[in-house]
Symmetry: C2
Subunit: 757 residues, 2 copies
């Protein structure tokens, strides 16, 4: 599921020192000097093992046939992965779940007026691409978790179909009530489009891939180039995952054989209206048949036509019917038991299911995981003994709704609450720059790892290459200055779009999502053309970035698993939360200013004076100016958090001095138990308003963005939705959560101070 | 020629007071109280006369057949206009010139490899549009003043073909030496494209209209909508007018029968390489046949293809041959002699020649001019006696190179130097907002006029509507604040693109260019579809904006012709020149900063680190950091100018007090003689470097923009071209020129102070 996730959650590259700046607390954070030396030797051995040829052969095998949930090859891949893990010497097993996963039985899209056109809804095989012709096994083009439906209605073009687009339609005087909307992909996660359309009264939804977004505008189309061809379709889930991901019938609990299940009709996350995805080949006649106002400038795609909004005269018939039976999931779980702290788990995962052959998504991320496991297996044979337990997971059912990971987390919730140290996720991988997002308590840690990995194209470290790009991308002198001087590159915050979500946002496990990209453009996402032929022709063709990913994540896993003291850093977390606080304060102020300005312009007659009578717009309505909110509790909480983080950092520096023998004392175990709870302290048992499954108070996918992150989500979304009372409450709740985090860090600092008094 | 000119030189709307702010110096600037009252009464009578029905019938007649230079209907129109002026009671005559105007004899564009395609180079008639089928009289699609040539060469796509595009090509490692370039229209005046291509060694140039710029991206194409259809072609001149406009064979002197003429081969302004314009229908197969790098993102148009840069494998054959005989021009000149100051001339003009039928360009501007003349004729019969002489001019030969106006100005140069008060130009007209650009000494004057004209759509004054749009367009609180508080709307500066150029930039006559627009989009510019059918269906269909233009310009003419003291204001001029000075200072500083930053990034290895090996770019070269320049003489000159302007303004306020009888003293004649020289003082006899024809030191068309203005052109272009020695010299020259202006204004202030001591 991750191409879009990678784009949205990608490295918000801040930057850093011109010379690599090692962690301030010793050579390897949380290690004694001797331990660091040994660790570095093992890591060096590890990084020599992963092989591009292995990666290529794994990919060739895993993407050889379509392997979506419920398909024969999905199960075959799980069993093959199981055998591989075992052959590497790891203790592995398959965990199974039974989950609701609809597959299409009937799909119709046709223009019924003013002319007739029947959409073909079919991606043709491409000569020279052998797997593109496996028609019998391919899942047809569809959006999973669309409700069944059969509707005929006038068509309205809604751009990306996000809330702002409907505000624009309102200014144009156009309602989608009773209409079928056609939205283009991008601009939001796809599941938002039917959700918002239904909220506005639409009866159906089509989603198409405009060539401006991932087609010929960007480059040659497949097979001449990597971009989406005329008949290429983006499949994908439209489940309302911002409410909860995973099996719609078992929210909050594992979908085991005998789990209590909701009736399908009671599942909150299935769409309210029928939805189908189409190609631009199928979309063109529909869009060409629209009249009504010319679409606003930013709405216009790259088809050779004038984009009109409608409604009509284009009238469309849309019919969707699915097989709603339960399907089996196969999570493959491998373990390396910890030598001295077996109840502290470092978890590393990538999904193995795809929409079709999925060479890029997810196999390009799955094969480095497998190669890491092979390398760790070799180290074990050479005598390497990780302090903590390492779990390698190949998830099933990610594409429909992060199901394999979600059900596993829900099933093992109690254990994870006490044992999980961190979750490291990858998904698709490509050429270019290391992209990292996740928990800011791991920001410094992952920067240190990135300083030890070589970029295959430039022979710089991946960290250095990212820093130089941050300088190149810096649009202001301030941004470039920050890129040059900040010791660590900033990592992005996580929304959703891959398997970290249940770990981070439900279970409160510190998480990272990693991948290389930025030089790997293309338009085969979720189509039959995402296959070995495409990947080995256009993406990481020599698999050197696959190797770099294995080196990066494997190093991170080893270093987390081996540290005497868990290498969280809270000063970066405190600084980042402080930035978020300033952002929400600015969000409110900007809203106040813009409402005040708009009201003034309404009074001045600006809107009527600038209204072109041949392209009339309705004036906006006057609004109440948003009230001032009391952000003081939040600022105080950030101040306290900062002080606690500084105290912990000082204690760690002291404990690390002179070889850091203090870190190896037996009392460090209790300290680690405290540290391990620090990310959990950022959650609230009640979760977010109207979506209690999401418990993290700092990071969540946006209710109206889907994958895109909202930081301080309770506060930020209340302000965005103009719910001032809720915003006020959420300020209190987040301040309280930050207080709990401050307490945890203070406790850890006290424990550390006792280790090295 | 003016659609692009209107876009480029349009009202850079600044803004003003919420209540209309009359000129500070009395009710009408430069009038006694009694004179103002009488003037207002005559103006009110005047504005009641212009009739939309007359405008429509004039347009129907003047655009009934193609009327380019040398065509039978061009001459017929001149004679019809002459008869009209005479019928209105004006003293009118035709002034004739013989000028070089090439017309096409052979035109070939064909793709010769890798496949064959012959461009049709023909705009088909449109059913329901009667004049589009006048094939026998239409000028074929071509670019006038292209040199003859016959070349076959690989094709390179160069985006808009401006210097920055060639810098980008250099980074891509691509040279156009020996190639035929294909550039799209827009981004510069068209004549820049072959000029810059030839400077880089290209052997031929095609210019096409991409639908992203004026085709289906914007709206439905003709005849369903107003935008450029598949086979529509933009004709136009590619003469090197930034060197000098007018007849290429008679630079600086009138092209009278017995003028001394250059040999064609010695004319500096004919292109160095052959050029032809083509439609996007003809361009598509050529662009689709290009390989090489994918075009940079901003270069991509709206055709349904991936834009590649080339060179090749597309190979093109281009052949152009013209009839280079002299053609006759017919300027129609009408006069209303001044009652008391016959040697002070207010000149008002619009061209009458077109590329084909030219309903919009120029007839939509010509017909208000004619209606003004009719109305003034009626006032004369009612006893109105303008103080100054008024000249109404319908120019021929504007489309090829502003020839009719240029030759007339050059012929009457001596007289104009002593007599010209102001030149008021219009060209095409449409629906929307009043757009004004010109001499800033007239900024306050034209704002006052705009406060007296009703907008036909909103019933606000055109001034108020423009102010409200400036508020709507203000992107920052500062911009909106300025829009709300500045007493006058800012007017733009004039580059080139219509007949004001010889008046303003050669003869130093204070000039304004006016027109309505902003709601009149379309893509028929310089095509056969710019005709009565198009205009009366899609533009100012009820001709109410034609009436508003006649009311605006006619009022301005009357008010200028009747004032006791010429209503120039120098405080706005001084403020504006001060802004220009700060702009060129910032231009230098920005260049220093960007060179410094780029050199640093080269040292840091940013370019090699971020270079994608599959889309390689050459690194930029290190550059010398631009030196600091001494701008002090300029700042001192602006200070002195500001003091002189303030002194004059104070004197005028005093002279206007108590009914302003002082203004009516006979000595005001000498004051007016001084004032009339104030714009002349802004010129330098030597002109600009390498183009002495352009004498104005504040405004000029850019040497590499064509129509787009460069203010303080000598300094600004020297900095842009990194010619630091010349920049330094030009600072001195402009400071000297501002000193001359200060002297003239000081002289005027002294004269005024004597009138009202």
């Amino acid at each position: 599921m991750s191409v879009i996730a990678r784009v949205l959650a990608a490295f918000t590259l801040g930057a850093l020192l011109v010379a690599a700046a090692p962690s301030p607390a010793g050579d390897l954070r949380g290690y004694t000097a001797a331990g660091a030396k040994a660790e570095r030797e093992w890591e060096t051995k590890f990084r020599a093992i992963p092989s591009p040829d292995s990666l290529r052969e794994y990919m060739r095998h895993l993407s050889a046939r379509p392997h979506h949930v419920g398909s024969p090859y999905d199960k075959a891949n799980a069993e093959w992965l199981l055998a591989k893990f075992k052959s590497f010497g790891l203790d592995a097993q398959i965990e199974s779940f039974d989950v609701l996963f609809p597959t299409p039985k009937e799909r119709v899209v046709e223009l019924v007026a003013p002319t007739k056109f029947v959409a073909k809804l079919q991606e043709p095989p491409v000569p020279g691409d052998p797997t593109s012709s496996q028609l019998a096994e391919q899942l047809p083009t569809y959006n999973a978790y669309s409700v069944d439906g059969d509707v005929t209605a006038p068509l309205v073009y809604v751009n990306y179909g996000v809330p702002a687009d409907y505000e624009r339609l309102a200014r144009l005087g156009i309602s989608v009530k009773g209409a079928i909307v056609i939205a283009r992909y991008f601009g939001s996660w796809r599941g938002i489009k039917p959700k918002v359309a239904a909220e506005h009264g639409a009866v159906g939804c089509l989603i198409y891939s405009d060539p401006k977004d991932d087609g010929y505008t960007h480059g040659d189309v497949y097979p001449r180039g990597p971009w989406r061809p005329r008949d290429g379709v983006q499949r994908g889930s439209v489940m309302d995952m911002p409410v909860y991901p995973g099996d719609p019938l078992t929210p909050g609990v594992g979908a085991t054989k005998d789990a209590k299940r909701l009736a399908i009709g009671d599942a909150q996350t299935i769409t309210k209206i029928p939805v189908l995805p189409i190609s631009y080949g199928d979309a063109q006649p529909l869009l060409a048949a629209l009249a009504g106002p010319t679409a606003p400038e930013e709405w216009r795609g790259a088809l050779a036509l004038t984009y009109h909004v409608g409604p009509g005269p284009a009238k469309v018939h849309l019919r969707v019917k699915s097989d709603w039976s339960l399907k089996p999931l196969y999570d493959v779980i491998a373990r390396i038991p910890g030598a001295s702290a077996p109840d502290e788990w470092v978890i590393r995962g990538n999904h193995h299911d795809a929409w079709v052959n999925g060479a890029e998504d997810p196999i390009s991320g799955q094969v480095p995981l497998l190669e890491e496991a092979r390398a760790l297996g070799q180290l074990l044979k050479q005598g390497w003994k990780p302090r903590r337990t390492i779990i390698y997971a190949a998830w099933d059912g990610e594409e429909p709704a992060l199901i394999g990971s979600t059900e596993w987390v829900e099933t093992h919730a109690d254990e994870l609450a006490h044992k999980a140290v961190a979750y490291l996720n990858t998904d698709s991988n490509g050429r270019g720059y290391l992209s990292v997002a996740g928990s800011h308590s791991l920001e410094q840690f992952i920067n240190d790892v990135a300083r030890d990995i070589d970029d295959p194209e430039t022979r710089l470290t991946v960290w250095k290459r990212s820093q130089l790009r941050a300088i190149a991308d810096g649009r202001t002198p301030e941004a470039r200055d920050s890129a040059r001087r900040r010791p660590d590159l900033r990592i992005g915050a996580l929304g959703s779009g891959s398997d970290y979500t249940p770990f981070l946002q439900h279970a409160g496990v510190a998480s990272l999502n990693l991948g290389f990209g930025g030089e790997d453009g293309g338009g085969i996402y979720h189509s039959v053309y995402d296959d070995f032929k495409w990947y080995s022709t256009f993406s990481d063709t020599s698999f050197v970035y696959g190797r770099a990913l294995a080196q990066t994540v494997g190093t991170a896993v080893m270093r987390l698993a081996g540290a005497d003291v868990l290498p969280y850093d809270f000063t970066g977390l405190a600084e980042t939360v402080g930035r978020y606080v300033r952002e929400v304060e600015k969000l409110l102020k900007d809203k106040q200013d813009s409402v005040r300005e708009q009201n003034r312009q309404i009074d001045e007659g600006v809107f009527s004076a600038t209204n072109d009578p041949r392209e009339p717009l309705l004036p906006p309505a006057k609004e109440e100016i948003p009230p001032f909110l009391n952000f003081a509790p939040l600022s105080n909480a950030v101040d306290a958090l900062t002080r606690a983080a500084d105290r912990y950092e000082k204690a760690l520096t002291k404990a690390t001095a002179n070889g850091g023998a203090a870190l190896a004392k037996p009392e460090a175990q209790a300290l680690n138990a405290t540290l391990l709870q620090s990310e959990r302290a950022l959650t609230s048992a009640d979760g977010l308003p109207r979506r209690p499954w999401y418990r993290h108070q700092i990071y969540a996918p946006g209710f109206y963005t889907g994958y895109g992150v909202k930081t301080l989500p309770g506060i930020r979304e209340a302000i965005e939705q103009k719910n001032w009372k809720e915003a006020d409450e959420q300020v209190g709740r987040v301040a309280h959560t930050l207080g709990a985090e401050t307490d945890a860090i203070t406790r850890a600092a006290e424990q550390l101070e006792k280790l090295a008094p």
